[in-house]
Symmetry: none
Subunit: 199 residues, 4 copies
Amino acid sequence: MAATKPRTYQPEKTRASIIKAGLKLFGAKGYHGSSVGDIAKAAGITKGAYYHHFQTKEELLLLIHQEYADYQLKAMQAVLTEDDTSSEQLRALIRCIVEAVGRYRPNVTIFFQERRYLTKKYMARATAERDQLEAAFQAVIERGITSGEFRKDLDSRVTCLGIIGMCAWTYQWYSDDGRMSAIEVADNFSTLVLDGLVA
Amino acid sequence: MAATKPRTYQPEKTRASIIKAGLKLFGAKGYHGSSVGDIAKAAGITKGAYYHHFQTKEELLLLIHQEYADYQLKAMQAVLTEDDTSSEQLRALIRCIVEAVGRYRPNVTIFFQERRYLTKKYMARATAERDQLEAAFQAVIERGITSGEFRKDLDSRVTCLGIIGMCAWTYQWYSDDGRMSAIEVADNFSTLVLDGLVA
Amino acid sequence: MAATKPRTYQPEKTRASIIKAGLKLFGAKGYHGSSVGDIAKAAGITKGAYYHHFQTKEELLLLIHQEYADYQLKAMQAVLTEDDTSSEQLRALIRCIVEAVGRYRPNVTIFFQERRYLTKKYMARATAERDQLEAAFQAVIERGITSGEFRKDLDSRVTCLGIIGMCAWTYQWYSDDGRMSAIEVADNFSTLVLDGLVA
Amino acid sequence: MAATKPRTYQPEKTRASIIKAGLKLFGAKGYHGSSVGDIAKAAGITKGAYYHHFQTKEELLLLIHQEYADYQLKAMQAVLTEDDTSSEQLRALIRCIVEAVGRYRPNVTIFFQERRYLTKKYMARATAERDQLEAAFQAVIERGITSGEFRKDLDSRVTCLGIIGMCAWTYQWYSDDGRMSAIEVADNFSTLVLDGLVA
DNA sequence: AATGAATGAGGGTTCATTCAT
DNA sequence: GATGAATGAACCCTCATTCAT
């Protein structure tokens, strides 16, 4: 008699294993390169079970973004309550973003590359979170300009998007291989944009 | 005998219309969101005809990248032959990248978001081109550091990738709506990373 | 100790609510258009609970037919025990069918349209009941012909199926909206087939 | 070397074989009981080929209805142009319907039992055709009543739907097994509703 | 060069049903 | 009696690609 695999009833564990599998597969082969079947198999369950926990494939994609976005927004709010100089706030913000991107790199990679496939309903939620981040960033820069701490001859929006780009782009190349911590990278960026490259 | 309308064969025109359709559709709905049928219809031909001009769907994706990459590399080489200060060279390089990204934004968008689906053969070519760009960039920065024109306390690789990220990221937000030219954006970036934000 | 709200077990009530939900859903969206999950939700229970009360989805379909068939057969038997003229008997039979179809319209609709999906076992029971009805009908007509009350130049089987069809078809259009009672419709039919349309 | 089945390029033949297969399978196992795969296999093609000829599974269902409806409406119009007594017109109409139902019995069976699953877009077309048929029928009856040829004490709508039901119901039982032609059945019906059963 | 019929492999999703809890 | 997690088979449909015409 063949031994039948016993069913395990641990819904939370199952959900977690699906998310983990999604992160791994989406990260490795992309959203369209990974089928729900692939994900289910990697999670050690059946396709049917996947659909017991998620409504659609897309829902998993959004969840992966949310995991990062939640962390990012919370971390930012913690930084912004402090009453520092604009330079210090910007430095903190840059650290905060680079660190979050480094920590959630698979999530970020997946999201940046696949977000266009989100349907409207899901997209709206994701966009709102990006907007919050940009707004916070720009506020810090404009406060610095107004207070005279930052130079006035630069466009605040362009500067803001430039710095965010610099930080976000780390998802393309940064890996915590011990050579350099996310904080070190962030501080390098901060010096660069605050004091400039010229000796 | 009635005059028969002669069928006009214009292979180059057909090819061009396919590329145009690919750019439009890939840009709007993504590589996986656009079927070969969609592309053919948008190009005013049949699916069969598509396969007369391209071997696979992927080939079109690569071609779209190449169009941008070719322009980018040529523009860069034109800039680098000049014998300027490192600051001037960096400023020129930044202009060159931002301008190219602005001009080929659909191509860039598509490539950054879909490159993971390229098969190895194609991927190799694309990666080689990216590497060339990064190498040129880093060379300029390192020359500046060596000559004493740039500060020595920043990591050249991180700085290089930071600036490239800042420039590349414009594909996410820049649109030539008249408010600001690509050159102006580039110069904003240059001032930011050369002289710093602090007043 | 706080008084715990005692769970009330009312199996019959649950069964009834399932049947009610099945009637509503099958009627509105068809047998295949309504999932067991839909039915359970409409009945205010879980899918698991459904399977405590019914073995399969099909069982509910049969039960819905039975509810109507039982009523129909009983009503017919009540009518046929009376010792009237054939005309009166036919008139009573027509009333009886139209009234039953009107009363159990959802059941009838469902059954006529979905019976083909019954498996053999269930189908046999359902067919037997239809046969009984047809037999009773035909007996009345043949008795009328034999006794000379009805004309002899019509085929008794065709006539029988024609009248049954006329009555059964009301499931397609009759709704008790007050404009006309089932009895009135039935009597209209009776006059039509007994006395004819010609003035 | 295995012999490869050569592709045959006869689109019309393929379409016809799909329709034939659909008629057979829908008739035997119902719309929901027959998968597109089943139909394709029965038609000797692949699922992909099915979708080359039809947009959806539903489209085949509608087509099956259309085939019957087109015939029915055309036949009716041919009958109604004649300038006969109302009795003759009704008799002709009944023949026309019974004959059409007999000829297209599989189509009719399928349609009556599955029409509820048509989506709105398709349903609208089908309903319009049913309405035309009913309207023509009722017009004949009302003209007969007005002219004094038919009795005035019957509701024209109920009478109309009753006769249509009688005719339509034949799809449930009539088969041209030689014992009785559709015309004979129709004339039996005509005598029944025109002159009545009473001797 | 061009067509469009045909292929065949999957893709996402649904669903009746089972079973550990 | 009741729950809901899990199954597994099927289903409709899409799509890159091939090939006879």
